[in-house]
Every structure is written in C-alpha cells, then in structure tokens.
Symmetry: C2
Subunit: 323 residues, 2 copies
C-alpha cells in the first residue's frame, strides 16, 4: 500500500507519518511506500519503508496532477493555512484552503481508473455561534471565519466527489488538539495547550480567559487514531454524508487545571498566570463547547474521556514517560 | 436605483423584471435603470425605465467584471443550470453554478467602494434524504446532487463575503415553484405543475407518482415577492447567516388535485392520467416534504397557505383571470 500525506510537516501529519512508519502497515495492508509532502520539507520518520519526502504547494496549478500521478492508495489531505492567516489574507486563504483542495479532487477525478481513499482534515470551525450547548451531527454549518467557510466547502466537495464515485472520501472535523507539543504559538486557542505543556516542564504560562470557559478537545494521539480509522473504515456506512464530527472531550479550563494538579501538583498549577485578554475572550466566546458526536462514535472513533488521560498521553509521547 | 438581474430570461427572472417595470420602484427607491442579463437575450418588459438587455455568460472569465463595472445597486443572481443538467455534465455544472457565482462575488469584492445588495437564488436541493418530516432552519446541508452541492457552496460564499463586508447578500432557498407557466418540461419535478396547468386548459397531463407524495411549493408570484423582499429588507437581522429557507406550502399531490377539482371541476381532474414511473418515484422519494421556515417568516416572507390560492394566482397571472 502507498500512503501519501499532504501537509506532512504539520503537527498531525508528522505524528501520523511516525505512527505509520512504526506500524509498517495500515490496517491489514502492509505499508510499501510512504510519500510525505508539504510546502517545507517534511521530516523523514525513522523505520519507515520506502519513503519519499518532497516539497510541493497544492495551491500552485499543476501540483495536484504531479502528486496524483504517483497513484497513492490513500491520501491524507491535511494541508491548510490556519484560521488567523486565512482571515488576515483573504485571497491566500481561498487559494490554499479552497482552490488547493478542489484542484486535488479534480486531479483525482481526471485520473482514469483511480479512486483513492481521501481523508480530508476539516474542523469544528465550520460551526459558529450561536449554537446549542451540545451540537448534534445534523446541526448546520455556519462558519464565522473564512477558514471555517473553506473547510465547510471542502466537505461539500468531498461528499459530492465521493457520491459521484471519483474518490472515496472521509472528512474529519477535528476537535482542538491538546496538548500541542512545541513552543507556545500565537493562535487564539494556544493557551489551552500552553497552560498544561509549560507548567509540566516548570515554565510559566498565561491564561487569558476565565476557568469557566468550556471547549472541545482531543489529544494528538487521538488525532492520529482518527486518521488511521478514517483510512481503513468501511465507508459504505457514510453514504453521501462524508463529513464526521469526531468525538472529543468537553472540558472547562478549570477541569484542565484540576487534571494538571492531579498529575503534577500545586507547584505546576502556580505557574499559570491569570492575565485576562478581552480580545481572546471575545474570540473564544464564539467557539463550540460540546458536541454529541454519536455518528462517529457508532463508527468506532474514540477520544479521551478525561483530561488526565490527555496529560498522560503528552507525558508518554513528548516527555519520555515521566515528569 | 439601478437593478441588475442575471438570469433574466428564466421564469423567475422574467416575472421579476416585469414586476419591477410595472412598479417603477424597488421598495421606497425609484427604479432609474434596469439591466437584464442572460445567456439568451432576455425579453424587454413593457413600461420599464431605462432598460438594457444583453447576453452574457457568467461562466466565461471576465464577464463578471464587465457586469460589475455597471455598478448596479442591487444584483439578482438567478443564473444557473438546473439539477438534471448539472448531474449529467459535471464540469459544466461546476463551471456555471460554482465558478460563475464565485467570479461574480470576486468581481464585486475587487470593485473598490462598492457593496451592492446581492440576492442569490439557492434551492431546497441543498437538503437531501434522510431528513425529518419537517426540516428546521438549523438542519444541515446534505445535498444529493451536484446542483445542490453548488448551491450550498454558493450560500457559504455569500455568507463569508457578506461577513467580510464585500457585499450584502441574501440567499433564498426557493420552494418548488408551482404552477410553472409554459409548456411541460422534462424536469423530474415537472408533473407537479403539469397536472394543474394542462387540465386548467383542457389538456391531458401525466401523473407519475402516487397521490400521497408530499412536497414543498410556492407560486411564481410568491417567488417574485421573495426577491423583492430580499432586495429591500434590513439585512442586519441576518448576521452572518445569509441563507434563508423560504416559506412554502407543504401539500400532497392529492391536495393539489382536490384544489383543482374545487377550482375547475371533475372534468379537469379526469384529464390527469395516472402512469406510475419508478424512476421519477425514486427521485422524488429523496426530496424534502415540509419545512419549519420560521426564520424567514419572522422576517416577513410569506407564501400561499393552500393550493386554491396557488391555482388562483395562475389563473389571474397566466390565463387572463378566468377559465
């Protein structure tokens, strides 16, 4: 089996590549070839079978055809520019997140006798306030960002191209991934990870919102599991509705902090500085808090059920297993 | 005020142009100029102010810029290829219904200091089975046709371009328009109009489904009213959700026939020949039957409340007021 990851230099892409390299297989199929693509050169995971790493920009016309000519059996399409950048640069957002996605699907459609499994990374950003406390699978998409709009359109295209038999798509609406490894970043959602990752390593972190704020989470490990399941599942159960709200953990910041205390003690919790930021507060107020993801659950998708599990996964995967 | 109708040779476009010409105004504003555009030359309505009729194909790059250069205050974007054709010719459907719409919005965005009201004709085809008996405003879009996919994407773009302040959009999910004037056509939904229009004029019509089939209707007159209201309403109430499920009448074929009997007697009803068609039956089984359109109703949109009203509107508007 030949697996391609587009967006392989991103956090989920990198972890997915490492997992595939470790497993040496995808489901019951042996992994014969791995092609890792991003706008910057992706890392080459250790232990992988025949692996090609390459730079390519899906938002340049013709790139998709070059990638599709390699005829991977499974394509993970994780490439996107993030919410803040798509909002700041309207044209760039549409070119990368919409045109890039459409050109990929078009290149697949035009390739004769070729119907790969395509896993498309969508986002809970397809939902925008106001919404019910718990969002059901049948709730409509009302994005409040251009990024969310582009992801919602990508899902519609994925479903139509699947219905027509041009590809076999699964769209994954990822929860906010927590704990994101690496340095703190400037994303509005960054604090959800910062307030755990930094204190776990004895460093200060800033909390810009109140402890009552509730949000929807899954670990990087769960994100990789979602990808693998989407790549190997029987898609006939999806019918023409190819987008899935993934399971996650609905938790407050207070619950995050309680789990940190449980795992790393008061000393770690004292490293969190409360510095309210009205701008971040108003952004976060428009975000979903909880979902009833029963469709994906019925299909076997699983996420963590408490924050201690999420912290433990981080300690095991990023900190060598101990504090 | 300068009003442009793109798709002015279609049924709703033609009737809208005639209504505007008769009124000489749109809301409280005097109608100074009317520009009617379609791929075939639109008819010139009698009594209109300065009227330009022209052929133009929005799916040809550059056309949108030419139209936008005229700086209409209100643009009705009604141009589309229909469901059957978009399904039969995948590329043509996406080029006209998606690219054409996006190019129009893009041309408006690039025109400096220009933020017209844009009324975008969407469709209940954005909904596909299975769905609840009565579809609420917050139900998700699950199109089962490429046409429905293209309309759902158009709505997402309309909302995002409106949120960003590039245009001031209203998306209208039209019910099935009944009674469509003119000759019977081959659209799968044609029989809903045929079984009334033809017997009203003493001609036979074929009914391919059972009398229990339920669907969602409004008259051509209501469709024109929807357009005028969308062009003049205060859009602040819409926020970032620019698509509206319009009010309609949920009725069975049996109720259509009962209304025909009431208006034109048994003689008319006897002109309906029951010729079951399994293909049309299976298509119609996937169509919505009923909506709770409370959002549009709260904004003042109104449709007919029984089929006698719909038949009466047809007799008045198409048959000179008498049978």
């Amino acid at each position: 089996m030949h697996v391609m990851i587009i967006g392989a230099a991103g956090m989920i892409g990198r972890k997915l590549a490492e997992q595939l390299a470790r497993d040496g297989r995808l489901g019951t199929a042996s992994l014969a070839r791995l092609t890792l693509v991003d706008v910057v050169l992706p890392a080459r995971p250790g232990g992988a079978p025949e692996t090609t790493i390459r730079t390519a920009d899906l938002s340049v016309e013709g790139t998709a055809e070059t990638l599709v000519a390699l005829r991977p059996d499974v394509i993970f399409h994780l490439a996107a520019i993030v919410s803040g950048e798509a909002e700041a640069d309207f044209e760039k957002g549409y070119r990368i997140n919409l045109d890039g996605t459409r050109w990929l699907f078009e290149a697949i459609r035009r390739a004769e006798g070729y119907t790969p499994r395509v896993i498309f990374a969508s986002s809970i950003a397809v939902f925008g306030a106001p919404f019910p406390a718990k969002i059901e699978d049948s709730f409509f998409h009302t994005p409040l960002t251009s990024y969310g709009t582009q992801k919602a359109i990508g899902e519609l295209l994925l479903s139509d191209y699947s219905r027509r038999g041009f590809l076999d798509g699964v769209g994954l609406r990822f929860p906010t991934i927590c704990i994101r490894p690496g340095a703190p970043n400037k994303a509005a959602s960054g604090f959800f990870s910062n307030i755990l990752r930094e204190p776990l390593q004895g460093r200060e972190a800033v909390l810009p919102v109140s402890e009552e704020v509730r949000h929807w989470f899954a670990s990087p490990r769960a994100a990789v599991d979602f990808c693998l399941r989407a790549a190997t599942m029987d898609t006939t159960a999806l019918g023409a509705r190819r987008g899935l709200t993934l399971p996650g953990l609905s938790a407050t910041v207070g619950e995050q902090i309680a789990a940190l205390r449980e795992m790393a003690g008061d000393k770690a919790v004292r490293l969190i500085r409360h510095v309210p930021d009205p701008v971040i507060n108003s952004i976060v107020a428009g975000w979903p808090r909880d979902f009833d993801a029963r469709r994906a659950e019925a299909l076997g998708f699983r996420a963590e059920t408490d924050f201690a599990q999420i912290i433990r996964a981080h300690i095991e995967d990023e900190l060598g297993g101990t504090l």
